[in-house]
Amino acid sequence: MKEKDLILDLQDLYVRFEVEDGVVHAVNGLSLQIERGKTLGLVGETGAGKTTTALSLLRLVSEPPGVVECERLIVDGKDVMALSQKELESFRGNDIAMIFQDPMTALNPVFTVGDQIAETIAIHENISQTEAQKKAIDMLELVGIQGERADEYPHQFSGGMKQRVIIAIALACQPRLLIADEPTTALDVTIQAQVLNLMRELRDHYKTSMIMITHDLGIVAQICDEVAVVYAGNIVEYGTLQDIFNRTKHPYTEGLFNSLPNIRDRKAELNPIKGLMPDPTNLPQGCPFHPRCPYADEKCKEEQSVKWVSDTHYIRCIAYEREGFHIKLEEKR
């Protein structure tokens, strides 16, 4: 691969949680690279390890019971695994910021929203409390909330407004890398569109690189440049937006597309992927998707390897070693 200007270089991330009932293997050797200014979509079912991956980037996985290991974790040139506690504190919120899934619980109920935004600014910028408050009001207005509402508490805001506040907190110090963990999942559809538009505008305004975690392929299509499909703690298919949507290769990605409702044929039944995510305390041998995969054969139960389809597109699937193999999705189109 040619040299790129990387904002994130993550190599072989393993996260496991050692709890009483056994060891939960949440992330299993995941590698990611994001070019500066690009937006990557991290797509997968609930429990695939998307949020754990994101928290690992901020070193926010609670250890113990969590154990985080990786070959390399470089964010904007900083070796995150080597940072001290103090350095981590100035790294979080300043170089990298995160928008959390549930705006209802992500804000502290006993502090005003203005204070909560100003706190980030006061930590990372060497300015007075009053200046931080003033900047907090500017941030509120930037996300479309009247500045005078800075003195109000989270319970006085609606869900969509709270998510705007959280976006304001995340962007207050203009981080290089923004992680959005299902930022619109908890919101209703009309508000989803507004929040998504706002995030896209602000991303372009600040030229922030972004990781968009979602299970909604519609959001991916709207906002991402590249997509990583995650299953059982590892990427099963990775490529540009075009690669994933128009040149789908992995049976799991195919399953995701097939399970979308068809808007032109409203009578058609939904076609979900059969079975459940494997138990992360007891992952199957070989390809973890093989118990649910319609194409799996004996070999899939034993091994799994990466296959590059093009310069930008790879899959973790050995079915393509078979003569003339292809998933069915292509034929339908």
Partner: protein, 309 residues
């Protein structure tokens, strides 16, 4: 907020009426009255009847109670029958000592329990957690008069470091305050721990950490303020216990407070003094609970919003 406080004050009236009713009638059920203990052995029936008349004890219980309530509503607690002085004066002579003991014990309880509860919660399932839970169980389950006696045995008799009773000098308050504070500390430690454990699981702490807030600030500022509501609730009842629990402790340490005064008044059947002391206690207790309720509003803006409605 003001309307809420006013409402709470008005609610005190029925509470006080009920308390005075219960205490007055219970006292009447006790055998004997003050006249039988005051009158000389050779007093005639007529003498005793005249003494009752003078002390305002004539008539049946309903007549006496009605008279008492009439005076009470005018703010008059009457005269102490045994001391021949206004009840209110006798009460306030002894009240500072009780208050001093109550605050001393609360101070000790707070200083021990809040840090201990927080470190137990932040080091969940570690040895710190285990030790603090054993300590708080001990504090809770030891009868306070027994702990008091043990402390006297150890620190006064064997070591001779601290006085076993009395008042008037600072060292005298230490043992009674520890005795009274131990149970409260146990209670408050447990509630601080469980409340903090509840809060440390909340998403907004993760948000704070993701902002780059230092861990000790996350605990002290973001978590503790949210954990305060249950702590304040228990603290309120602790204040009540401190006032009430003083009765046994004041006896053990011969502390000249209201608790001992009340017990003495009951023993000599001084109706006015006993009822008066208990009514004053009730007033201070309801005031404390009101202050606690107001404190909620400062801890949690959502409750403040409810009060203003």
């Amino acid at each position: 907020m003001l309307r809420y406080i006013l409402k709470r004050f008005l609610m005190m009236i029925p509470v006080l009426l009920a308390v005075s009713f219960v205490v007055y009638f219970l006292m009447d059920l006790a055998p004997g009255d003050i006249v039988s203990s005051m009158a000389p052995a050779d007093a005639s029936e007529a003498d005793i009847e005249r003494m009752r008349e003078e002390l305002g004890l004539s008539g049946n219980i309903f007549e006496r109670y009605t008279r008492y309530i009439g005076n009470l509503l005018r703010g008059d607690l009457g005269m102490s029958l045994s001391m021949k002085r206004p009840v209110i004066n006798v009460f306030f002579e002894r009240f500072p000592a009780t208050l001093k003991l109550a605050f001393g014990s609360i101070f000790i309880a707070l200083v021990i329990s809040i840090p201990l509860g927080i470190s137990a919660a932040t080091n969940h399932r570690s040895w710190i957690d285990g030790t603090s839970m054993v300590l708080s169980m001990l504090g809770l389950s030891m009868p306070s008069f027994w702990l008091g006696l043990l402390l006297i045995l150890g620190f006064s008799l064997k070591l001779g470091w601290l006085p076993s009773g009395g008042s008037g000098f600072f060292s005298a308050i230490i043992l009674p305050a520890i005795t009274l504070g131990a149970a409260q500390a146990g209670n408050l430690t447990r509630i601080t721990r469980s409340s903090m454990l509840e809060v440390t699981r909340q998403d907004y702490l993760r948000t704070a950490r993701a902002k780059g807030v230092a861990e000790n600030v996350v605990i002290r500022k973001h978590a503790l303020k949210n954990a305060l509501i249950p702590i304040i609730t228990v603290f309120g009842s602790t204040l009540g216990n401190a006032l009430g629990g003083a009765v046994a402790i004041e006896t053990v340490f011969s502390w000249p407070g209201v608790g001992r005064l009340t017990v003495a008044a009951i023993n000599v059947r001084d109706m006015n003094l006993a009822t008066g002391c208990i009514i004053m206690f009730t007033i201070f207790l309801t005031l404390t609970l009101l202050i606690v309720d107001i404190a909620y509003a400062f801890a949690d803006p959502r409750i403040k919003a409810q009060y203003s409605r």
